[in-house]
Amino acid sequence: MSQSRLKSVLGTLAVSAMLATPMAVTAGEISEEEMQQRIAQGKELAWNRAQGNCLACHMMPEGTSPGNIGPALIAMQLRYPDRQKLFDKLWGVEETEVKYSMMPLFGRHGILSDEEINLIVDYLYTL
């Protein structure tokens, strides 16, 4: 798990840099174009029934026929200013686990890789 946290922190650095200067990305960080690609990939992972399938349970902007088992995934950046906390929730670290919840432990149970979770978090931050 320490490894997964490390990767997430690396993701965080790239993204927080992006947010601070969305148009002008300095060398060593990812370009606007790359970021758009990551967001598109994250959205695909989140919506795909065989992968994240978040819409089975959550309302998400633009998502058709969502379930209502979990809370709506909106205003994610506002609600999760700390990107690591959002990553941890999706990964399923014990401290964020809610008893009897249907929310899958995506990282802990090996449903999604750490990189895939990072892509989804990039996408969630646009909601």
Binding site: A56, G67, I69, Y100, M102, P104, L105, H109, I111
Partner: protein, 287 residues
């Protein structure tokens, strides 16, 4: 609402308690589970009458209920009930006197299942006995899940409509089978970490995508069912309860058990017992 669930389900989830649930009085634990579940659903949906639980999701959504009622007027399964009757009558001698309840007439066969066989210490299902009787009469057993076996099941269910589910637990073996079934239902299984209870107890009435989640009470009353989804996939749309178990296990990303194997038979035994007192309304139409 979750706080009102003091049932064995909650305990089983929390402590994996089930295996000790072999009561001195053999059906005391089972009866507690059943009444706890009824109380839970009564608290959750105070306006839904107990007798309506045989109608699954259609007690939760008025629009879908109306569509469904229209379907049930000229149901897609009707021809299969007739086909089931023909199949049954063709090999009548194999079944009559072999299937439990048949001595009292065809209508009494379905309500006699599932039951616990003390000699073999195994749960016996309707489908299991259809094939046992065929084999003992020198006939070829039917394939499980769909086709002939579902047609005969639909006919036997249709004949039994209106009678009440009445599964009996009166031995340590039966109590153990019930407890094993309860564990299968209440404990998380598969990669998504879900239990049957996650969907069909705690989140019943909520939606997963556009599917409404049905309550566990009454689940067994209307099987086999005819589903549009199954008709589009393969076969004629009619399927058995164990076919449905397999489908839900796949959705949970859990390797499905063998159809009519011990796990599913125990699960059916639990599932049917907790619906005691509800009317049989098989077969039925489902989305």
């Amino acid at each position: 609402m979750k706080k009102t669930l003091s049932s064995a389900i909650a305990i089983a989830i929390a402590t994996s308690f089930g295996s000790q649930a072999i009561a001195v009085e053999h059906n005391a634990v089972a009866e507690q589970s059943r009444t706890d579940l009824i109380n839970y659903f009564q608290n959750k949906h105070p306006n839904r009458p107990f007798a309506d639980y045989i109608n699954g999701i259609y007690g939760y959504d008025e629009d879908r209920r109306m569509q469904w009622q229209a379907e049930e007027e000229f149901p897609q399964y009707e021809e299969f009930v007739e086909r089931g009757e023909e199949l049954f009558n063709r090999d009548l001698n194999a079944y009559m006197g072999c299937m439990v309840g048949s001595d009292r007439g065809v209508a009494h066969i379905r309500p006699s299942y599932p039951y616990f066989n003390e000699q073999t210490q195994q749960v016996v299902t309707l489908e299991g006995d259809i094939n046992r009787c065929r084999t003992e009469a020198g006939l070829k057993p039917f394939a499980w899940k769909r086709g002939d076996i579902a047609h005969v099941g639909a006919f036997l269910g249709y004949e039994a409509r209106g009678q009440k589910i009445n599964v009996v637990i009166d031995s340590p073996g039966a109590a153990a089978a019930f407890a094993a079934g309860e564990r299968e239902f209440a404990e998380p299984r598969g990669q998504l970490g879900l239990a049957c209870a996650s969907c069909h107890v705690y989140n019943a009435s909520r939606q997963a995508r556009s599917d409404i989640l049905s309550p566990v009470l009454g689940h067994v009353s209307h099987f086999p069912v005819w589903r549009g989804k199954w008709a589009r996939a393969s076969g004629d749309g009619l399927g058995t309860l164990h076919r449905r178990y397999e489908g839900c296990h796949k959705n949970m990303r859990h390797t499905a058990y063998e159809v009519q194997g011990e796990e599913y038979r125990n699960l059916e035994f639990w599932h049917a017992y907790i619906s005691n007192g509800l009317e049989i309304n098989a077969p039925s139409y489902r989305q």
